[in-house]
């Protein structure tokens, strides 16, 4: 059943375009039925999970590596699954209305549903490989969704950037997960995480940690990888609301929470997570107030929230984990609502620029209500779940272990978030109505149902904190902590430090809100000229592609001479280095002194070879090759192989005929002289190869040759193969298969020559010199999408 739950969105995705074609305006409502049903399906597990139980499902997938398609529902995965399917329901509805007029809506919904399935698979996976498969699927579907407006270069750049950053991190994660599975002796997370000490004490712990963190940090946009997330806002708003706030970017956080029982708790874990989380938190919060585009502001606060979550998981104490899960829950609700509301504003007015928006409250009352509720939750005011989460954050930062600085970071970050929340939630709706590109209007129920529901849930979750704490946040904390702890969320904790810190946050936040215009423009003036990782990404890509081009052009020069040079150098090295290194040359040199013909033949062959190398005319070279061939034929004759000698002579004769015909087609250069420096260099290499082969041959001929094969053939040639000519019997009987292959070569050679001639082949001159790699020297702006179109 769990498997069916994960696969169902994929199946429906395939049919989404068809449904769209058939159902028309009802598409959203129809398709939303599935995530709604999934939400109900997952909700029924709440009872089991909140009483400490788990639900598992496993089926062999690739049995040989113990890769199972196994799923596992505990508090953490259930919380995520509910958020994914629940928010997903509204996203499908929202998208169908938001993009109602878009020609490719069916395709869009297909990608959204595929993403939903991937995300469900990711959070429910028990097997590390299963987890990774779904992890990468979220990257791919995200690539397709961000690039949905594919005609825009900015969209393409953002899509590729997200793919490069998260895909690259994913590869590190793969190594990390496999290494972890190896260290812990299991592929199943549920088993692995029970043996946390085994992992933490393993010699590969550091490597595992670094690799897993690379995966998690890139996915969850932790500094310095935070730049891709705001760029991903190029995607249509439903994508931003779903992937880049509530779900996908939390996959990294999910992973950290998931492996916390196995890898967490060490000093390095705490230091790295707290440091990166805190920095990301501040960067996100500062960049949020710097921006004036609603979506970008929200995107930067998402970066900040992700930083906060990583920071909290890094702290690792029980109360910190409670804060993390409570905040994660709260964030998904208010951020989803705010993104959808921002999209509705964009949809209704035609702009997202906050400076141009005001007084929309009258025209868009429902959107206003949703945005306001969500913003209050985000700002951390009671009685919303956001308030509780923030209180817990302060409780967590006040542990004995962590210095005051951490609390300071939290106050500053939260104050910034407070200001941005109220800016986004109220500024566009209050005051005098502004001029906007479109006449502001409220969209259909598909547009407001989601934000209203999510925002209201934020309120309800805060009011009924016993239920949200006991049923959802609590069990999630158990899973992260690796043990059952009692979780009791409450709104009123008495006049204690967290409350005072909250008050301080609000005070600071109000100041920031009051001066937000000035802060924003000051920050913009500072940051826009500064180098940032986003520019660094471009530089990295340019450098990478530039290097690739340089290296490729250097290796693949297009000159046959160069290729031959390298090849011969390698051959020379291979022939001479082993013997030079091992120094075990053992040669007994036997001179057949009685046989003087052999010296004559050798001299003839040498003369032929020498004149090929020395004389500069092609004609002489061809004739010299003939001389060499004749010498070889004589060798055959001398060693009583008249067949071979005869064949060799015939081949030489026909070669001359064919070469004579070919030569008529070749422009005869007077010479191919390469100049002295090259000639000397080439002679040295050729000499080295020659010496190498000679030494090798001498070394081998110094041993006794095992003649079993030739003796076998000689003994059987007449008695069993009925032929006295052993050479012929070898050719047509003993090794007839070789001959069969070789005559096939002869036929093919004939066909190949005819093909060459029939199709043209007018001139062979200059062949082998054309460049055969075509890298451009100019940087390729199309890669990064910098070109304006």
């Amino acid at each position: 059943m769990l498997l069916a739950g994960v696969l169902a969105p994929f199946v429906l995705a395939v049919f989404a375009p068809t449904v769209k074609r058939v159902a028309g305006p009802a598409t959203g409502w129809l398709l939303a039925l599935l995530p709604a049903a999934l939400t109900v399906y997952f909700a029924q597990f709440i009872g089991t999970v909140s009483s400490g139980g788990t639900i598992t499902f496993s089926t062999p997938w690739v049995s040989d590596l113990s890769i199972h398609l196994s799923f596992y529902v505990d508090g953490l995965s259930l919380l995520f699954a509910l958020l994914i399917s629940g928010i997903g329901t509204f996203i499908v509805l929202y998208a169908a209305t938001y993009l109602a007029k878009h020609a490719d809506l069916g395709r869009f919904l297909m990608f959204i549903l595929m993403f939903m399935g991937s995300m469900l698979g990711l959070v429910l996976a028990d097997n590390v490989v299963t987890l990774f498969v779904f992890w990468e699927l979220t990257s791919i579907t995200s690539f397709l969704l961000i690039g949905f407006n594919h005609a825009s270069p900015r969209s393409r750049r953002a899509a590729l950037q997200a793919l490069v950053v998260t895909g690259g991190g994913g590869l590190a994660l793969l190594a990390g997960l496999l290494l972890m599975a190896q260290a812990g002796g299991s592929m199943e997370l549920s088993t692995l995480l029970q043996s946390g000490d085994l992992l933490r004490d393993h010699p590969h712990y550091l490597a595992i940690l670094i690799l897993v963190l690379m995966g998690a940090f890139t996915k969850s946009a932790q500094a310095p990888f935070h730049f891709w997330l705001p760029n991903a806002m190029e995607a249509p708003t439903p994508v931003s609301a779903y992937l880049h706030s509530a779900t996908m970017v939390k996959a990294g956080v999910y992973l950290l929470a998931r492996v916390n029982p196995g890898l967490g708790g060490t000093e390095i874990w705490q230091t790295v997570l707290v440091a990166f989380g805190a920095v990301t938190f501040l960067i996100g919060a500062v960049l949020a107030i710097r921006n004036t585009d609603l979506k970008l502001m929200l995107a930067q606060t998402t970066v900040a929230s992700l930083g906060l979550l990583v920071f909290l998981i890094g702290l690792g104490e029980e109360v910190a984990l409670e804060a993390a899960m409570a905040y994660l829950f709260a964030h998904s609700l208010f951020k989803g609502a705010l993104f959808m509301a921002a999209g509705s504003v964009d949809h209704g007015t035609g702009t997202r620029e906050i400076t141009r928006l005001s007084g929309l409250g009258k025209a868009m009352p429902i959107t206003f209500a949703a945005a306001a509720l969500a913003a209050v939750s985000m700002s951390g005011l009671p009685p919303f779940i956001g308030f509780i989460a923030k209180e817990w954050v302060y409780k967590a930062t006040m542990g004995d272990f962590w210095p005051l600085a951490i609390t300071g970071v939290a106050i500053l970050g939260n104050a910034l978030m407070f200001a941005v929340a109220l800016l986004v939630g109220f500024k566009p709706f209050l005051g005098r109505q502004s001029e906007t590109p479109k006449h502001p209007h409220e969209g259909g129920p598909g547009l407001w149902l989601g934000p209203v529901t999510l925002a209201a849930l934020g309120l309800l979750a805060g009011l009924f904190n016993g239920l949200s704490g006991g049923l959802l946040v609590g069990p999630a904390v158990w899973a992260v902590a690796g043990e059952q702890v009692s979780v009791d969320l409450y709104l009123w904790g008495g006049f204690k430090t967290p409350l005072f810190l909250s008050l301080a946050t609000i005070a600071l936040g109000i100041v920031l809100l009051w001066r937000s215009r000035a802060i924003s423009s000051t920050l913009a003036a500072t940051f826009d000229r500064m180098w940032g990782p986003d520019r660094g990404y471009d530089q990295f890509l340019d450098l990478l592609i530039g290097t690739a081009r340089t290296v490729t052009a250097r290796l693949q020069t297009g000159t046959l001479r160069h290729y031959l040079l390298v090849t011969m150098l390698i051959v020379a090295a291979v022939l001479l280095l082993p013997v030079a290194q091992m120094g075990d040359l053992d040669i007994t040199f036997r001179i057949p002194a009685t046989d003087f013909y052999i010296f004559g033949i050798a001299a003839l062959a040498l003369a032929g070879g020498f004149s090929i190398a020395v004389f500069r005319s092609r004609l002489i070279a061809i004739l010299s090759m003939g001389v060499l061939g004749v010498a070889v034929a004589l060798v055959f004759l001398l060693f009583s192989a008249p067949d071979l000698a005869f064949t060799q002579l015939m081949v030489e004769t026909l070669s001359v005929v064919i070469l004579a015909l070919v030569i008529a087609r070749l422009p005869i250069y007077r010479s191919d002289w390469r100049g002295w420096p090259r000639a000397v260099r080439d002679s040295i290499i050729a000499g080295a190869v020659g010496v190498g082969f000679t030494l090798l041959l001498l070394s081998i001929t110094s041993r006794t040759l095992d003649l079993a094969l030739s003796e076998y053939f000689a003994a059987r040639s007449y008695t069993e193969a009925y032929g006295r000519n052993i050479v012929n019997v070898i050719l047509v009987d003993f090794r007839a298969l070789d001959t069969f292959g070789e005559i096939a070569v002869v036929v093919i050679a004939g066909v190949a020559v005819l093909s060459l001639l029939a199709m043209g082949g007018r001139s062979l001159a200059g062949a082998g010199r054309a460049p055969d790699s075509a890298p451009d020297s100019a940087p390729d702006s199309a890669v990064t999408g910098k070109e304006t179109s």
Partner: protein
């Protein structure tokens, strides 16, 4: 005249996948000038080759290695063909993909090219490939290399454009050097051992002193076969030639030629040099990693769509040989799976590249745009195949990478793990970039909009089939994993292969040989 075991009817199974296409090539050559007859012959013959390979594989799977000694002269004196799970598996996949590619060519290649020897050359090529996969005789292996070399040379020049001639000259020169080096290496090995049968060589080489001579011979095999397989730094010929011929020809080359080289490397180093040629083995991992990374860099650098694909083929060779260099069972499992995956994906990519070039009327990635709208079918297929190439789950290319990374981690070979992940990253970037530019980018508005490309059913269907194959293998990899596991296990325990080929270990000297001994005494 031979009544020994293993040579009865089943032995013929190993002959057919080689003989059928060779006879087909003969018939196609005999039907010179009759292009329709040749086309019919080709499809029937390739279909028959696939069926015969499948039957062979099935038999090998249930009954173990099938071997037959040609002419009834027992190995090592006669030439034995032998199929173990590894060779049979590759023969099946290779002939299946060849069938798809040739079906594609019926729709995509014009009649003029097809008349000029296309079919006999393709069939001879397939005979050479199957021969190389199924022979157990190292000189016979050389013969099949020659068959593939000459037929592939003929296929490259088919068309006679200037750049083809240029590519063909580089291809022919460098490959002739490679085969010549191979021949020399075989000759030297024969001089050392007095035998040519690989199973027989296994024992004979083990008995040799581990000196520099043997090391050099081992390195010569690495150089010559590595050149055939397109390993760094001797892969020049591949990017120099693969972008020039007809797209279908490139497809079949990319699918099979380098794999024959990789196959031979594995066979030679696992059967002939299982415990020697240490220098070659040490060099192998570095060479493999350099190949996979530089190949991927080349793909990133190239702006011509077909050169881009050529370099991805090079990169894949590095991955395969990386597994051989590690040499554990998990590594071979990954390597064999990767070979199968790469056969499918390389063919599909070249087919897709040809379709992209004809749909967009350009070959440079910079000049191509707007195909997402104009050829949606092609864009889906390209994305699936490209992502599979980059090793993105759940496509087929993902699994071998998991196995290889795991094998690398187990063996403590950080360099292999880094190489595989890095080349995967570069390939992902290159594929994503190509997709964004070719498909997503809108065509310039001032350019005239060419009509939507019309591809025939054979053209689309063959690409679709290959894309579907890599997709389905990704979702349900169990059969390929099972076959690869079996093949890997048998590679590491070559005794069954050796025994099946030799029947019994060869008599060491002539006087121990019953027949020969008798002759001598008479």
């Amino acid at each position: 005249m031979f009544d020994g075991s293993g040579f009865e009817g089943a032995g013929w199974l190993v002959v057919w996948p080689v003989l059928i296409p060779l006879l087909g090539a003969a018939l196609a050559a005999a039907a010179w000038g009759r292009e329709r007859t040749q086309a019919t012959i080709s499809i029937v013959v390739l279909g028959a080759q696939f069926i015969s390979a499948a039957v062979l594989f099935d038999h090998v799977w249930s009954h173990g290695v099938v071997a037959m000694s040609m002419g009834g002269w027992p190995a090592p004196f006669g030439i034995a063909l032998a199929a173990d799970p590894f060779g049979a598996f590759l023969t099946v996949v290779g002939s299946l993909v060849a069938l798809a590619v040739v079906a594609h060519s019926l729709g995509a290649t014009d009649a003029e090219h097809r008349r000029a020897g296309f079919f006999p050359l393709i069939l001879a090529l397939m005979a050479g490939v199957a021969g190389a996969f199924l022979t157990s005789d190292i000189f016979n292996l050389y013969v099949w290399f020659e068959v593939t070399l000459i037929s592939s040379f003929g296929l490259i020049v088919l068309g006679g454009r200037r750049e083809q001639i240029d590519g063909a000259v580089k291809y022919a020169f460098l490959n002739l050097i490679a085969t010549t080096l191979l021949l020399i290496a075989i000759g030297l090995l024969y001089g050392l051992t007095g035998t040519l049968n690989m199973a027989d060589l296994s024992g004979a080489v083990a008995a040799l002193p581990q000196d520099s001579t043997l090391e050099t011979v081992g390195l010569l095999f690495l150089v010559s076969l590595g050149m055939k397989a397109a390993l760094f730094p001797l892969y020049f010929w591949l990017p120099a030639a693969y972008h020039t011929p007809l797209p279908t020809v490139s497809a079949i080359f990319a699918a099979l030629l380098t794999k024959v080289g990789v196959y031979a490397l594995i066979r030679v180093f696992m059967v002939v040099f299982p415990d020697s040629a240490h220098l070659a083995r040490e060099a192998m991992i570095w060479v493999a990693v350099a190949t996979m990374v530089l190949g991927a860099l080349g793909a990133l650098a190239e702006s011509d769509i077909r050169r881009f694909v050529s370099f991805t083929v090079v990169s894949g060779v590095g991955v395969m040989v990386g597994g051989l260099a590690i040499g554990t069972e998990a590594a071979f499992l990954g390597t064999i799976f990767y070979i199968v995956h790469s056969i499918i994906v390389s063919a599909a990519l070249f087919i897709a590249a040809g379709m992209i070039a004809s749909a967009g009327n350009a070959t440079r990635i910079e000049d191509l745009a707007g195909l997402y709208k104009r050829a949606p079918y092609l864009s889906v297929a390209f994305l699936i195949v490209g992502l599979s190439l980059a090793g993105v789950p759940p496509l087929a290319g993902f699994w071998p990478k998991v196995y290889l990374v795991q094998a690398g981690l187990e063996a403590g070979s950080t360099i292999l793990v880094v190489g595989i992940l890095l080349s995967g990253f570069l390939t992902l970037l290159a594929v994503g970039r190509a997709f964004a530019l070719i498909f997503w980018r809108a065509a310039p508005e001032d350019a005239p909009t060419p009509p939507a490309p019309e591809f025939g059913n054979l053209v689309k269907g063959s690409l679709g089939a290959l894309a579907a194959l890599t997709f389905l293998i990704g979702l349900y990899s169990a059969p390929v994993v099972k076959a690869s596991t079996r093949a890997a296990a048998d590679l590491l325990a070559p005794d069954a292969y050796i025994e099946a080929v030799l029947g019994a270990p060869r008599a060491v000297t002539a006087s121990d040989d019953p027949v020969l001994g008798k002759e001598v005494t008479e």
